[in-house]
Symmetry: C2
Subunit: 373 residues, 2 copies
């Protein structure tokens, strides 16, 4: 088991632990008791995770005297609305939940975001714990306190920075994930390696596709390594005033791609394609060597992820999505690039350079020229 | 003009100024420019305040080059719902408001609470300014960063602590307030004097009912004095972990009374009646002298406010409301009392003592015995 402390600069009282380990879920009751006493306990999950993880966990908590109410939401991104949060909070009031209550989010990113946001605003803030059950949530969304819901006009437009009391990531729960969901998680793990941990990159290179097997004994350390990159960044810039933006490596184009595809492309796959382009940009503008660029692209592909923008997405629609996402200001887009594996920088790219480079990337792909890849 | 700095312990970067003065509204443009540059400006108000204050202000901002979008909400507590906040935020997205936008709340407590909460959660937090236009908002709700909306099951159940960048209180806007609204404001001003400022209490005693005239030249200083009490408390306990509770003097029973009356009694009038009872409790349990108790009750009455619980509210329904409001725990209710004018203490009262004392208060009133008053 690995314990990583996320220390928030200037807010020691809001610092918290990430516990990563196989079977760690069975110590949730002990961890809760360590955190103090609460008046009411509520576990929030979705229909898919409920029978697999939430119900056994609930029984276990009960056997240790922690009586926990269960709130089950529909699975999927469509649940991530303010109506869901309001309904959940209304249910909390009918069960007399007060300021000293504790919520436990058991699920993927959607459940974590909803539960965290409900905890942020219920009675102006109650405490909560993250128990992420997807690889993506374990290495990314459950860490760092970003919570929120979507508006019809865009994703995560309403939300709060609200840090959990604890994050408990158990690789044992990943066994039931479909392969594409594992790949989604690895997009973020590769990102962490590329922006901040060359050692992790080497391990990923060595293991390759073996990692998609949830039983792989290396997985626990890999999750912990990816988490530690995120913790290091968040600890220095909780509210995303500067440094935290490097976590957006691959995400600038990734988000544009998700939006342009009307969210038919999954987050991880979009980020992977976005990283593919960002690696090309890094070679072009940030001094990344061709050798390292090739290694990065090769690793992304080894994990079964795309490094290219889909053929049916044209450059213009990407630029429009970037514009709408406020990523282009005064004709400039600030991209996260890497100068070498493990070293992120922020680099301004003009819209014209961007258009040219993206067109070139698309052109190379369409022409089937191997060298580019 | 008076400038009061609200310095938040351990969060100097979130500290801000309260400016109180006649005609101060005309310097809003200058204050905004001092605060930095923003990408978009939005003014939120209600139908009643719009023609009186918001539109002239908007014109003035425009004349100084600050182009500001106007958002008008229906007036009244019924507007204070999450739907209103979501609709407002949705409108912000359609106008391309981003993280660097500024909202300006121009109105009473409802507008301030809604705008502050929208600012707290829009894109995980944008900046806002409070321009309170009721006396109650100027001396209380606009200060301290408590924002929120109601649920069907209770008031202010969803919300956030989100401090404004600036509070601008102009007594000149109070001229159009109905007398009862002025009295509501004075309930909080008297509270501030009783819990923290004997000097203010003496001034209020001397001026008495003259203060209900919005042209009274003393008003500016009185507002500033009341604000400084609240600032002193909030600066030490932003998140209401302890000290901030003393601001609830008169509010424990006041809230119960509002709830028991189904919100037919206004906040200020309910708080006044709650203070009336709390003064009696203070004489009984906190060593408040009969002389000071009489002076306190007399001042509340001078301002045209009640010191007694309404005849049609029975003691049991108050206790039920306290229970529902989580104010009674393990048979004990923690009351804010005063040991002398200007000195608040927290005192535990058992439900039985509370019932007995309230029944006695009601009985005295019903029997018409003057001595009690």
């Amino acid at each position: 088991m690995q314990r990583i402390r996320l220390t928030l600069e200037g807010r020691k009282d809001s610092s918290y632990d990430l516990l990563i380990g196989r079977g760690i879920l069975s110590s949730l009751h002990r961890e809760i008791q360590r955190l103090g006493s609460f008046s009411f306990y509520g576990l929030v999950t979705d229909e898919v995770v409920r029978p697999l993880v939430a119900e056994p966990l609930l029984e276990e908590l009960k056997s240790y005297g922690i009586k926990t109410a269960l709130f089950t939401l529909p699975a999927g991104e469509a649940t991530k609305t303010m109506d869901t949060v309001v309904d959940l909070c209304h249910e909390l009031t009918t069960l007399s939940f007060d300021r000293k209550s504790l919520l436990i989010a058991v699920g993927g990113g959607v459940i974590g975001d909803i539960t965290g946001f409900a905890a942020a605003i219920y009675m102006r803030g109650i405490r909560y714990i993250q128990v992420p059950t997807t690889l993506l949530a374990q290495v990314d969304s459950a860490i760092g306190g970003k919570t929120g819901v979507d508006l019809p006009s865009g994703k995560n437009l309403l939300g709060a920075f609200h840090q959990p009391l604890l994050v408990l990531a158990d690789p044992d729960v990943l066994g039931t994930l479909p392969p594409d969901a594992m790949r989604d998680g690895f997009a973020e793990i590769i990102k962490s390696a590329l922006i901040g941990q060359p050692k992790l990159f080497s391990i990923l290179e060595m293991e390759g596709a073996n990692l998609l097997n949830a039983d792989n004994p290396m997985l626990e350390n890999i999750i912990a390594d990816a988490c530690s990159v995120k913790c290091r960044v968040v600890s220095q810039d909780e509210l995303e005033a500067g440094l935290r933006r490097i976590l957006n490596f691959g995400h600038t184009l990734g988000h544009a791609l998700e939006a342009a595809s009307n969210y038919k492309i999954s987050h991880g796959h979009a980020v992977a394609a976005g990283m593919g382009a960002a690696v090309q940009f890094s070679r072009q503008w940030a001094g990344l060597t061709s050798d390292e660029a090739d290694r990065a692209l090769s690793l992304i592909r080894k994990l079964g992820l795309p490094t290219e923008l889909p053929a049916d997405v044209d450059v213009n629609s990407l630029l429009v999505a970037l514009e709408r996402d406020k990523k282009i200001q005064a004709g400039i887009c600030h991209f996260v690039l890497i100068s070498k594996i493990g070293q992120a920088i922020i680099h301004p790219i003009s819209v014209e350079d961007l258009r040219q480079s993206l067109t070139q990337i698309q052109g190379f792909r369409d022409s089937g020229i191997q060298g580019f890849q």
